[in-house]
Amino acid sequence: MTDHHSDIDSVSGKSTTGHEWDGIKELNTPLPRWWVITFYLTIVWAIAYWVVYPAWPLISSNTTGMFGYSSRADVAVELANLEKIRGGKMAALGAASLADIEKDPALLALARAKGKTVFGDNCAPCHGSGAAGAKGFPNLNDDDWLWGGTLDQIMQTIQFGARSGHAKTHEGQMLAFGRDGVLKPDEIVTVANYVRSLSSLSTRNGFDAAKGEKIFAENCVACHGDGGKGNQEVGAPNLTDKIWLYGSDEATLIETISQGRSGVMPAWEGRLDPATIKAMAVYVHSLGGGK
């Protein structure tokens, strides 16, 4: 191989790079000038980028760039702007009464939208994303309410919770009649069948209805009321309807009666601002079961 640049290709008359592979030589065709310029510009651009924008990682942080640009700060500014835009609307929501919100299409739409997102963030883990509930966690779409289903009652439950430890929380216990030795096992079976009969569910063969009624009157009426219609003051469910929080089969009822139940709903006051709680109450009420 000879000097690189004096090697001239005999066919085209152009100089070659002097590299040769299997007898094939590469013509020394320069890159188009615009291409080279663009290439250098990208390098300049990259260096400028390093300098102007936060880029170089340091041990615990990074260089801040020339103008202190930060995407986090940008987001904060945008969020603040959004808050400013929405602030008025949320204030209107906070000022309006619950009933008025439901009457005003614009406020209702806002409350439902706001309530839906807040519900998704805070309530969905227990009640499900569509508020359909689960065993032990009430379905908020139906019309059965342990603590009442009016707008005010729903809002109160969200604010203070149930058995949450909050000073104003809902209180009330389903006692453990079996564990605490109040009722004997056979009595529990009898009263369980009696409760099933209240909502026209099938009962065990040979079950003594009179005995069941007697046990119920002595032990359960205090909370569940005459005929088992329930009492929202103490969160005692209506035992005559079709909706069962923990299940209506005999085994579940026996477990409920012998072990007791005391599900907890946390208090949201203090964790969410009043307007948001209001929005959530309206949202839950508008799911369809609200009274």
Partner: protein
């Protein structure tokens, strides 16, 4: 007789050059003639429409935009004179694109790249920029001379260059400016633009389009057509032997020689062509090619070479249209002594026209008969159905009511299915039992939560169809949709 000319004897297009060659600057000469006049006319029309359309007003009533053509992005509306399109009607744009594409095919099958030569924005603006250049710097020869003596930067020359670029930039700037006017109320935006109160995005778009217009029409010119545009490649597949293309009629004889020589040769009854090799057709060509080499990818079919040659032929007293819109079939036929035939109506053009008519017809029909009241229903998926305490079943739906008309409507919603169904709209107390009434403001949508309950005594088995009807109380117009009611 000197009738037959073997095309193989013509100078072939020179494609043996290097793969990469520096651009040879084109200095098209001005020319007068039929096609030039057509081009001026179409240019005035196209630019006129583009620049002035945003200022055309259209009365749509109070509160509605009064701009004839408006793309209202914030409110997702498109206004075109009497037409107002909503986002869910974007399929009209699909239709428009189909019509546009097939119209391009049709043009192509009739007259080759008419689009390229007369209507393409690249052509129109480049032509305009050339006109400015000619006005400021002079015609072909002068510009060539001035470019060559670049060293002689006299004051006059510098002011010429500055004037040219300033004018170009002004045109480019106004081109970008006109673009943004389609997206906002034009007079207001113009006012805001000059007082620097328009949104940043408007200035950004003006900047982008100013730059692209300036660069594409001022500097890149024919290179866009030759190297960047895909159409020359595609159109070759769409054209056929009947399409009229700008053609050098080599059947009018070879060889090419001077007027004097030709006269002498003719006197001797020798074979000689009409072309006097004056290179006028090359001088005027905006893409810098020689059409006498036959059809070429670069040719945008602007017809300027036809004008140039016609002028020459008139001067030397030979018949015009040595270059003209023609096809190879006719050249062959003339050589064989037959009369040329032109066929515009052929299977291809008929099919294209039929497609355009069909798609256009469907669009017009649906536009004319579309409902200005509509209901969309979305069944809640989570939960699908809810059992109430008395055993009845409830399904919830998100309902969207659309009122596309220019007035508020009072509408009633009904639901009917195989079983008795009770409906309720959240937030609405029904005056008429079970027939909620809602006000839908004009030109807007209302989203509602609709609850449908099947009483316990007639619980459906699993899934039954429900028909929702929306009735305009005043006008009695009805919109309907069907969904399902599901039992758990």
């Amino acid at each position: 007789m000197n009738k037959t000319v073997n095309p193989k004897n013509l100078t072939p297009a020179d494609d043996s050059g290097p793969l990469y060659a520096a651009r040879k600057k084109v200095y098209p000469q001005s020319v007068n003639g039929t096609f030039r006049r057509i081009k001026w006319g179409l240019m005035a029309f196209c630019l006129g429409v583009y620049y002035l359309l945003p200022f055309v007003r259209w009365n749509r009533g109070i509160g509605a935009p009064s701009q004839a053509v408006l793309i209202d992005l914030p409110n997702s509306r498109f206004y075109f004179f009497f037409i107002e399109l909503w986002p869910q009607e974007v399929y009209y744009f699909t239709g428009l694109l189909i019509v546009a594409a097939v119209a391009l095919f049709l043009m192509n099958s009739v007259g080759g790249r008419i689009w390229c030569g007369y209507l393409c924005p690249q052509t129109v603006w480049t032509d305009l920029f050339y006109a400015v250049e000619r006005l400021v710097e002079g015609d072909r020869r002068e510009r060539m001379r001035k470019d060559k003596s670049a060293g002689a930067l006299t004051l006059k020359r510098v002011s010429e260059i500055v004037l040219k670029h300033a004018t170009w930039l002004m045109i480019a700037w106004w081109t970008g400016g006109a673009w943004v006017l389609y997206f906002s109320d034009a007079p207001t935006l113009v006012k805001n633009l000059v007082t620097f109160q328009a949104p940043m995005v408007a200035y950004a778009w003006i900047g982008i389009l100013t730059a692209t217009t300036y660069v594409l029409a001022g500097f890149m010119r024919e290179q866009v057509c030759t190297y960047m545009c895909p159409w020359p490649r595609i159109q070759a597949a769409l054209t056929d032997e009947w399409a009229l293309n700008v053609t050098y009629r080599y059947d009018r004889g070879e060889k090419r020689t001077s007027v004097k020589k030709a006269a002498e040769l003719r006197a001797l009854a020798q074979q000689v062509g009409d072309c006097v090799d004056c290179y006028q057709c090359v001088a005027v060509c905006p893409t810098g090619i020689d059409i006498r080499n036959g059809p070429q990818l670069e040719c945008i079919q602007c017809g300027l070479c036809i004008d140039a040659c016609d002028n020459v032929m008139t001067k030397i007293g030979r018949p015009k249209r040595l270059i003209g819109y023609d096809n190879d079939i006719n050249i062959q036929r003339r050589q064989d002594g037959k009369a040329p035939i032109y066929r515009i109506v052929r299977a291809r053009t008929v099919v294209y026209s039929a497609i355009i008519a069909a798609v256009g017809g469907i669009m017009l029909y649906t536009l004319a008969t579309r409902s200005l009241l509509d209901i969309n229903v979305l069944h809640d998926r989570n939960p699908v159905a809810v059992e109430l305490s008395d055993g009845s079943i409830r399904n919830a739906y998100t309902v969207r009511l659309l009122n596309k008309s220019g007035y508020d409507r009072i509408v009633a919603i009904d639901a009917d299915g195989p079983v008795n169904l009770i409906i309720h709209v959240v937030g609405v107390d029904s005056v008429t039992p079970d027939r909620p009434m809602i006000v839908v403001p004009r030109d807007s949508t209302s989203e509602l939560r609709l609850l449908v309950t099947a009483p316990a005594e007639n619980n459906p088995e699993k899934s039954i169809p429900v028909h929702f009807h929306l009735t305009d109380i005043g006008l009695g117009v009805v919109a309907s949709t069907t969904d399902h009611f599901v039992a758990p």
